[in-house]
């Protein structure tokens, strides 16, 4: 393969990666909005409940970021496979999440703030850790060729938050209106599954 062709291929793969992370960001915002609304119905919309739920969400993302960093350093040659698997897991969780939130919430909803925290934690910890892990994994992947963390973080964060912005519009103006909370979550889960599938196909190793 000529240098030019290799460079073109790298450009295409990079564009696909940014597109996938864009879609992942869109799905994440749909989840965030829909899951929070499901939890508010169970635990109340007073400021305390809202803050507890948002904090648990952030805790999961933070823990996921640290875990993602460890994983990225440990498996530097399998980063895209790990990314695809992570997206698949988020999608799978998304599909079952409406039932899971209903069941967990019913069991713990009658308590005070500590129960809100416990139930929110048990519901949100897995998917938010997975979501938080994706950025360090992809940064490590891009940095392997670019050797510039600022550039990798900037581009990936750009793609992801641009997708998240579209996700906020989609959720607020289309999905919730047309499909309700559970339907919106399933749409996001389908998007994550598609991201995983495309990632596996586009970045599979040549045999």
């Amino acid at each position: 393969m000529s240098k030019q062709a290799a460079s073109d291929l790298r450009g295409v793969r990079r564009a696909i990666l940014f597109g996938l992370f864009f879609a992942s960001g869109a799905a994440a915002l749909v989840y965030q909005i829909a899951w929070q609304r499901m939890l508010y119905a169970l635990f109340g919309v007073d400021l305390e409940s809202v803050t507890v739920i948002v904090s648990v969400f952030m805790f999961g993302l933070g823990a996921g970021a640290l875990l993602g960093g460890q994983v990225a350093d440990r498996f530097p040659l399998r980063l895209l496979t790990i990314f695809a698997a992570t997206e698949l897991c988020i999608g799978a969780y998304g599909f079952i999440s409406p039932q899971l939130i209903g069941a967990t919430g019913s069991a713990l909803a009658a308590g005070g703030d500590e129960f809100t925290a416990l139930a929110s934690f048990s519901i949100l910890v897995i998917p938010t850790i997975l979501m938080g892990a994706t950025l360090p994994i992809l940064v490590a992947h891009l940095n392997a060729t670019d050797h510039h963390v600022g550039s990798a973080v900037g581009m990936l964060y750009y793609a992801n938050t641009l997708g998240a912005s579209v996700g906020a519009v989609l959720a607020g103006f289309v999905l919730l209106q047309e499909f309700g909370l559970a339907g919106s979550v399933r749409a996001a889960a389908a998007l994550n599954s598609a991201v995983a599938l495309v990632a596996m196909l586009a970045f599979r190793r040549p045999r």
């Binding site: 508010y40 909803a109 973080v153 750009y158 919730l176 209106q177």
Partner: protein, 499 residues
């Protein structure tokens, strides 16, 4: 290890999420808390972050001193954060689309300015080539998330509880400004730093004057504002209402009036008063939504009431009640127990409680979270707390789907003016009796008859009004009515207010 990039990342997250909380509050207030307004702010904010990250990426690949870049961007961000709410205040009452577009643009810029430092902080704080890239980068990222988590807690819980929205904007702006000054500390001469610091303190002082001016500027133009009560739970505004009684606005939408005179009836208290005729033994009463306390005060006049549990989510109304001694006195009534809580959650926590009369002062059906108190699931919860023969009454606020939902849960549900009244039995004939007339005429409030002598016609007009059933409601609307559920959030989205 040099922690400065981690702290820069933390500051970007903290400032960013703090500003987001404040913008959601201000923009939501100006746009009557419709859920789409909140999505719009979120989308604009994320778009700003995306653009800022893109700019930061370019900045980090150049040859500039990245600490100077971060310092200049954050000080500029501080100045912009201080000015932007006022710029928004100026356009808040202009054409609706213009107001939204300007709001979105301001939100986007404020987010972008903070996000510029995000890639820079990661670049400064990460191993570039070693085998610890993932770990080192993820630590900087975790600091950003920690700041993002702490921002809403400090701003939403602490600052908004002790300061006005305007002052909180100023505090966060000054924090951003000084974070920028700290970035410049190593690179700039002392005199420049001192000049910048002085400018920051002066800016903060400016914003401190007239602490609720911003809310005055943005609030609905419904007359002269007599009082603004700001707490972390929301903003309550009281307008001078003259003979009709002062008007109370919660979150910038009409909530009720201080009027207690059924002849004036400027706040539709006929809907509440007929309940004393429909339920002749309201021993235990549950009320969700205190507002200014007018409804509570009137219910204390119902004969036979032994206990009233009233739930209010926003304690700011207690501050707003201070100017209304008659309403305030209801809270001192030995039969009244006030609970500051989410109504739905409180009810779930009292599985054994049963009530003879339930009154829910529901907010406008199109406001965010309104479906929590209108959905089939909520009505089923209320039904489980109603004693045999009990009556439920709540505001439909003009949504025909509210009656459709009540009809799906209760055997008997009808609309009386804007109220939906529901029960396990047909209560309508009770309103046409002489006993109902006598009951209303005998109501006494603060030792004086509620209906003055000669107001028989007024009482009769209250009792003669038609109850609308769901078939008639459907016939009056061209679209099929639907049941509001926790899942479809019908009145907030599909059948909600246009944004």
């Amino acid at each position: 290890m040099n922690r400065a990039p981690h702290l820069l990342s933390f500051a970007a997250g903290f400032l960013s999420l703090s500003q987001e909380i404040l913008w959601i509050r201000l923009f939501g207030f100006a746009n009557e808390s419709v859920p789409q307004a909140l999505s719009f702010v979120l989308a604009a904010y994320l778009l700003g972050i995306a653009l800022g990250a893109r700019i930061g990426k370019e900045a980090s690949t150049g040859t500039r001193n990245l600490w100077v870049v971060s310092g200049l961007v954050l000080t500029a961000s501080g100045v912009f954060d201080l000015a932007s709410p006022w710029l928004y205040g100026i356009v808040a009452h202009s054409a609706e689309n213009w107001q939204k577009a300007c709001g979105g643009l301001l939100v986007m810029i404020t987010a972008a300015l903070k996000a510029v430092v995000f890639p820079i902080a990661h670049h400064l704080g990460s191993d570039q080539t070693g085998n610890r890239v993932g770990r080192s980068m993820s630590r900087v990222y975790a600091f950003n998330i920690a700041g993002s988590a702490l921002g809403p807690i400090v701003t939403g819980f602490v600052l908004l509880d002790i300061l006005t929205t305007q002052q909180c904007f100023a505090v966060v702006a000054v924090l951003g400004f000084f974070a920028g000054v700290l970035c410049l500390f190593k690179c700039w001469p002392a005199w420049r730093i001192a000049a910048l610091g002085t400018a920051g303190i002066a800016l903060c002082g400016l914003a401190w004057a007239l602490p609720d001016r911003l809310i005055h500027l943005v609030a609905t133009d419904a007359g002269t504002i007599k009082r603004i009560v700001e707490t972390r739970h929301g903003i309550v505004t009281i307008y001078d209402g003259g003979q009709s009684g002062d008007a109370v606005y919660g979150g910038n939408v009409y909530d009720g009036r201080a009027n207690l005179d059924p002849v004036v009836n400027s706040n539709g208290i006929d809907r509440l008063l007929i309940l004393s005729a429909l339920q002749d033994r309201p021993r235990r009463v549950l009320m969700i939504g205190l507002s200014i306390g007018s409804w509570l005060k009137l219910v204390t006049a119902f004969p036979g009431v032994e206990q009233i549990d009233i739930i209010e989510i926003n304690p700011g109304y207690l501050g707003a009640m201070q100017d209304y001694p008659r309403q305030l006195s209801a809270l001192r009534d030995a039969r009244v127990r006030l609970h500051i809580d989410d109504g739905r959650r409180w009810l779930k926590g009292q599985p054994g409680a049963r009530y003879d009369l339930v009154v829910v002062n529901t907010t406008w059906h199109w406001r965010v979270y309104a479906s929590s108190l209108l959905s089939r699931e909520f009505l089923s919860e209320v039904k489980a707390h109603m004693a045999p023969g009990a009556i439920l009454a709540y505001n439909s606020t003009g949504s025909p789907d509210v009656l459709r939902t009540a009809s799906a849960v209760f055997g008997n549900a009808y609309r009386y003016q804007g109220f939906v009244v529901a029960s396990d039995h047909d209560f309508r004939p009770g309103l046409r009796t002489q006993a109902a007339f006598d009951r209303l005429q005998s109501l006494v409030l603060d030792g004086a008859p509620l209906f003055p002598p000669g107001s028989g016609k007024v009482i009769r007009s209250f009792l003669d009004r038609t109850f609308i059933d769901v078939a008639r409601e459907q016939a009056d609307h061209s679209r099929p009515l639907d049941i509001i559920t926790d899942d479809n959030l019908l009145t907030e989205y599909r059948a909600g207010h246009r944004f």
